[in-house]
């Protein structure tokens, strides 16, 4: 299986036409998912099926379609550099926001050793898997939600700043649906945290996730509203 994956990786890299390469990459993702299933990692296999077979090749094809719609290599005049008065202020705001996010994550990472399974699960080998699934897993799902929201907000900001994003409405709709699903997962995670662990730290994290979800949805709504059509 590993050898098969290695050969498929060669095919992905050597397929020079990006349109065809997206399909080859989807096949490669499917092989990886099979490898994960075979190695008794079904959760990672499902994630790989979604991310590697559907999402990444689909996004690549969408990006190619967008590039094709933008036309061939006609040189456009570079955008006039805008220098709004509050640029320095924006930079400082960005740095402060980044520092706050990083410190929250660092605080979370330093808290990992203190995370313990709920008392009724401790010392019960039959429930070891449940302990992993609902306690440690909740923590790392939260980090996943942070990464997803960060990238999503960045994309929304990019296309908001450059409002030439004449993406089809369906694409934006799918994006919004995905965001709402991720937001629901984030809220569930926060709830699991609040019910399993007591103390100010999980409450803070739950609040941060909820705020991030709300902010992401608001930003997406903004990007959706600012469509030129």
């Amino acid at each position: 299986m590993l050898a098969l994956v290695s050969v498929a990786a060669v095919a992905v890299v050597l397929t020079r036409d990006p349109g065809r390469q997206a399909y080859v990459a989807a096949g490669y993702g499917f092989l990886l998912a099979l490898l994960f299933f075979g190695s008794r990692a079904p959760g990672a296999a499902i994630a790989e099926l979604i991310a590697g077979v559907v999402v990444v090749p689909g996004l690549a094809l969408m990006a190619l379609a967008k590039m094709a719609a933008q036309g061939p290599a006609e040189i456009r005049a570079p955008d006039p550099v805008r220098r709004p008065a509050g640029k320095m202020f924006h930079r400082v705001l960005f740095l402060v926001g980044a520092a706050v996010c990083v410190s929250i994550l660092m605080r979370g990472i330093s808290a990992i050793p203190q995370i313990r399974p709920a008392p009724e699960l401790q010392g019960n080998p039959a429930n070891a898997v449940a302990a992993v699934a609902f306690d440690y897993r909740a923590f790392d799902t939260m980090i996943v939600v942070f990464i997803l929201l960060g990238c999503g907000i960045a994309v929304a900001l990019l296309f908001h700043k450059h409002p030439a994003a004449d993406l089809p409405q369906a694409t934006v709709g799918i994006g919004a649906g995905g965001y709402i699903a991720v937001g629901a997962v984030g809220l569930l995670t926060a709830t699991a945290f609040l019910s399993n662990f007591s103390g100010a730290f999980p409450a803070l994290l739950g609040l941060a996730v909820t705020l991030a979800v709300a902010g992401g949805l608001a930003l997406l709504f903004l990007a959706f509203r600012s469509e030129p059509r």
Partner: protein, 100 residues
């Protein structure tokens, strides 16, 4: 499988890196980057494998890795679309009027 897995991981990493370096299209480059990242999956699989069982915690890390890959690929593809929009070019070797 476990004994050879690090070599397969290194192979995938170097292969993806080769694709990135020799790439002539932004989208091709990003898909090669996902191949590079899949080397870490194989490495984590090898770390998680035990003689009698597997370590679910490391599988959870793999899930984070997979989801992070999708998110970062999406972000990079959006940047590629914007770079193409600005310069009309899709070749990383000749980025046109797009500057770092």
């Amino acid at each position: 499988m476990t004994a050879y897995a690090p070599f397969f991981a290194a192979w995938l990493f170097l292969l993806g890196l080769f694709g990135v370096v020799t790439s002539r299209h932004w989208v091709h480059l990003i898909l090669c980057l996902t191949v590079t990242q899949s080397g870490t999956y194989v490495l984590l699989l090898a770390v998680a494998a035990r003689p009698d069982a597997t370590d679910p915690l490391i599988h959870a890390l793999m899930m984070v890795d997979v989801v992070g890959e999708a998110a970062i690929a999406g972000l990079l593809l959006a940047l590629a679309v914007l770079a193409h929009q600005r310069s009309g070019k899709s070749d990383p070797r000749h980025p046109g009027n797009v500057r770092g």
